[in-house]
Subunit: 212 residues, 2 copies
């Protein structure tokens, strides 16, 4: 929180959190070596990364799993129960809406929006799909932090602008399009086919160097 954590490390923190969640339920402590093995990184890397969060381990012993989890969650800002909305309730949007992993990690999906009137009022979980015109209300009511774009690429840009207009500062974009830079706004794009393309590059090659 206080100090600057290198971007490469920030990228790995959620990974470590995932690792901690899948270790044997009755282990109370864990070594950097063990984390490294699960996360498939070097153990010195794990120690260096975790050292940015403070002095969390005990020499000769290792890390206390619960303490470490708490600290990772704190550092990532997961403790505040951030609210998010999803725009574009097609297949992908629906999948995201029902995806349990968000809730588990402390995110709350508080709105689903689509411009297609056929989808209006479609119920997913305890939420009904609403028209885009209601985005602003929801953002104000729930103090929405993150907008998740799952629309077709043609409208992604205008949706992004709309979200920003509603005061949203962080966008997770699943539309396969490069959004324009918006000053002061954090945008992360996940392009599913780009992931396949990277895999494709490493196909049939000697894995001298393993895909990141």
């Amino acid at each position: 929180m206080k100090n600057n954590i290198p971007p490469a490390t920030v990228q790995r923190l959620p990974l470590y959190l995932q690792c901690l969640e899948q270790v044997d339920i009755n282990s109370v402590g864990i070594s950097s070596k063990k984390i490294a093995e699960i996360a498939k990184v070097n153990d010195a890397q794990v120690r260096r990364d975790l050292s940015y969060l403070g002095t969390l381990g005990t020499r000769g012993v290792g890390y206390d799993i619960l303490t470490l989890r708490k600290q990772l969650e704190l550092e990532l800002g997961l403790v505040d129960g951030l609210s998010a909305i999803i725009i574009g309730i097609g297949n992908l949007g629906s999948a995201l809406a029902e995806y349990g992993g968000f809730k588990e990690k402390g995110f709350k999906i508080v709105g689903l929006f689509d411009s297609d009137s056929n989808k209006l009022n479609k119920q997913i979980g305890n939420l009904a799909v609403k028209p885009l015109s209601e985005i602003k209300d929801t953002c104000e009511k729930y103090n929405v932090a993150i907008g998740i774009i799952a629309t077709p690429e043609k409208v992604a840009e205008e949706i992004a602008d709309k979200l920003i207009d509603c005061g949203i500062k962080s966008i997770l974009n699943f539309a396969p399009v490069m959004l324009k830079n918006k000053p002061g706004i954090q945008i992360r794009s996940v392009d599913l086919s780009q992931e396949l393309q990277i895999l494709s590059y490493y196909l049939d090659r000697q894995p001298l160097k393993v895909a990141k």
Copy 2:
């Protein structure tokens, strides 16, 4: 193809391809500066990255868009029309099955599989959902290169093993679980909630350093 391209560059190649696809349809050439602007990277970076693919640009002029696309596709191995299958036809699996971006980028989804008998024969596009027992047949018939895992996390590991057993060498994993290392197998994991977590870290902070 011939020479070793740095991993950081490989990661960006699909991005450049995406950029080329969204420039004005009647432009025939493009400068590194323009690509850099769309991809939000430094222009020297673009030139350096592209220089790994050979001498593709013309000094004083820029890059020919068509040539560059062809070369990127060649380098990424997208020209062979790689076949992929999807295992786990829940919301996410269905979304992936209908996702147009794969086809567009030269991937062919040739099989959908689920262990839930209620889903069997469910039709998505021109494919019907099949039981896991038919994976092997499909792999042999279509020479499947990539397996996409969209199952619940509990079974992801065993599905991965099954895929490897069927001769698959590359796996794209959407289950929120760290798969064990399998020698000689390329695994990429996309964890949707990890993406949100990274965004969360950068929330409300001064964007001195922008999230990668």
